[in-house]
């Protein structure tokens, strides 16, 4: 089997999925790099991430790292059950995507609902997991197509459990990830951390302290929430190296300096990334960093639960913010 170098989602379409009845323009375009979705609460930002995650492996029987459960199960559990995946809790949801697999186009459709799960790759109905993966990205391996980070502490705990596995942590060490993430954190906090390690069955950070004290070993669990989240996401994603990273509410508990560090990493070009945010600090960091291939997607919803969207570039965002216009505030009056 040939090795695939790059898989990206070029466009995604949703219909009757969770709170999204439909998209005004049927296809939502994504950039190959960083995509930042902005919009009011409950507009459908998270639904887009979850739809993309389900496409990664739309089978109940699959267990994807790092959570050892299927995307369908994860998304269902987050929202109170399987019926929550379908708009109005009845009927059938459709998620569709046009993928680019090493420049070749692939079209995937998934239907969820009263008739179970139906999957099509190209026009062909697919029932076997192995068949799906080989048709979608010509490669079947344990490497997940996507990693999703929901804004839910249960799943951050699962990330920590995964990171602490001996077979996983060895890879962190071998690749120097345990030191690299400590350095990234140390640049934006007052502490000087040298590495992440497993100590007394816990994930910990080695910390150097001045004078006669130390080194100390601080449990990651007892770190500030923002630092903890970044460390876990960085380690797990670097290790699993998915083509697609989905991260909901990326800014939670992060000081602007840490947000900027996170942004630089997200925009480093190693993978396609889709995040959601409410944070002006994150948008301002985008303007400062000016990542290539970045796309800001503004969403709004009408009273028929139809999502309208508009993509703007980092330069357009810079123009607006530079003139004191908070783009989050004018979305309702934008012609989308």
């Amino acid at each position: 089997m040939s090795r695939v170098d790059r898989v990206t989602v070029a466009e995604v379409s949703l219909e009757e999925f969770r709170g999204v009845r439909r998209l005004w323009e049927p296809w939502l375009r994504l950039s190959r790099g960083l995509n930042v979705i902005v919009g009011r609460n409950n507009v459908g930002k998270t639904s887009i991430l979850e739809a993309l995650y389900i496409l990664a492996a739309p089978f109940d029987s699959v267990t994807l790292d790092p959570y050892s459960e299927s995307p369908l199960k994860l998304v269902s559990e987050l929202h109170g059950g399987r019926s929550s995946l379908v708009y109005g809790y009845a009927g059938e949801a459709r998620i569709e995507a046009r993928l680019e697999v090493d420049e070749e186009a692939r079209r995937v459709r998934v239907f969820l609902g009263e008739r179970g799960v139906r999957i099509y790759v190209g026009g062909r109905n697919v029932v076997e997991m192995g068949d799906y993966f080989s048709r979608v990205w010509s490669e079947w391996s344990k490497r997940p197509l996507a990693v999703y980070i929901p804004d839910d502490t249960r799943y951050y705990r699962k990330l920590e459990d995964f990171a602490m596995r001996e077979d996983v942590f060895r890879h962190f060490e071998k690749r120097g990830l345990h030191r690299r993430v400590a350095k990234l954190i140390s640049d934006v906090v007052y502490d000087r951390f040298t590495e992440v390690l497993v100590r007394r069955d816990r994930l910990a950070l080695r910390k150097e302290v001045g004078g006669d004290v130390g080194p100390l070993y601080v449990d990651v669990e007892s770190m500030g929430e923002g630092v903890k989240r970044f460390i876990l996401v960085y380690l797990v994603v670097e290790y699993l190296n998915p083509p697609l990273l989905l991260w909901d509410d990326v800014e939670v508990a992060m000081h602007p300096s840490l947000l900027r560090t996170a942004l630089k990493w997200l925009a480093s070009g190693k993978r396609q990334v889709v995040v959601t945010t409410h944070s002006l600090d994150f948008l301002q960091a985008l303007v400062l960093e000016e990542p290539r291939d970045a796309n800001i997607i503004l969403l709004k919803k009408d009273d028929e639960d139809t999502i309208r969207w508009k993509s703007i570039t980092v330069y357009e965002l810079a123009d607006l913010l530079g003139e004191g216009i908070d783009v989050r505030r004018v979305i309702d009056e934008l012609e989308l």
Binding site: E316, A318, G324, I325, R329, E333, L334, E335
Partner: protein, 219 residues
């Protein structure tokens, strides 16, 4: 009439200001006494704190984002169709007297930023009603100049002095100090002033503009 910042739109009028804090408080306190069906969204200033990030590349941007120049630039950006046309055709612009030499300065600043300007009649020397066009977009600006010599604080001090027989100076600091010493909240003072018709007396230009907004088309 309602003033919103982040609440859901769409709205009828955007409010732009060259400065911020007290303009917002005044407007928020008094708009409910005008026609209730119109919605105003406070776009405000925002410029100074956001343009810090451009400082290291374009230091001039910081100075240009406040005052008349900042307001006109913001207006130009909102009307540009590149990002997506903003469907608001009426703008209430609040600007301190210290930033505006005279009506000609306003017209000149607009023209310098590519606007065609038509004066549609100004019922008060400190209230300009202008029809402006930029590209394919045409909007109406209700520009209110606040302060007799300097800023809105003069009107606020005058209101407090009238209502409480006080002697407060026309500065943010003095107003804040006086309110704190008397256990009063500016919002409540302004609401009272509005109920007693004192806004019409002390800030007639703002009263005229808010009255005129009654007839702008709803969203």
């Amino acid at each position: 009439m309602r003033l919103v910042r982040d609440e859901r739109g769409p709205v009828d009028v955007y409010v732009l200001t060259g400065d911020g804090e007290h303009e917002y408080r005044v407007l928020e306190a008094i708009v409910e006494h005008y026609d209730h069906s119109k919605m105003l969204r406070w776009i405000g200033r925002g410029g100074a704190e956001l343009s810090y990030y451009r400082d290291y590349r374009e230091k001039l941007v910081h100075a240009a984002s406040i005052g008349l120049e900042g307001v006109v630039r913001r207006l130009a950006r909102l009307l540009e169709s590149r990002v997506g046309a903003v469907k608001v055709d009426v703008y209430l612009v609040l600007i301190d007297r210290e930033h505006v030499a005279n009506k000609d300065a306003v017209v000149e600043a607009l023209r310098r930023h590519g606007f065609d300007v038509e004066d549609v009649g100004s019922p008060h020397p400190q209230y300009l009603r202008l029809k402006v066009r930029r590209g394919t977009r045409q909007v109406v600006i209700h520009l209110v100049v606040l302060g007799r010599r300097k800023s809105i604080e003069e009107h606020i001090a005058e209101l407090i002095n009238k209502m409480y027989n006080a002697n407060v100076g026309a500065s943010k600091k003095e107003i804040r100090r006086w309110l704190r010493a008397h256990g009063l909240d500016l919002r409540e003072v302004l609401k009272q002033a509005s109920r007693r018709g004192l806004i019409r007396e002390t800030i007639p230009q703002l009263h005229a503009a808010l009255s005129a907004l009654r007839s702008c088309k709803p969203a």
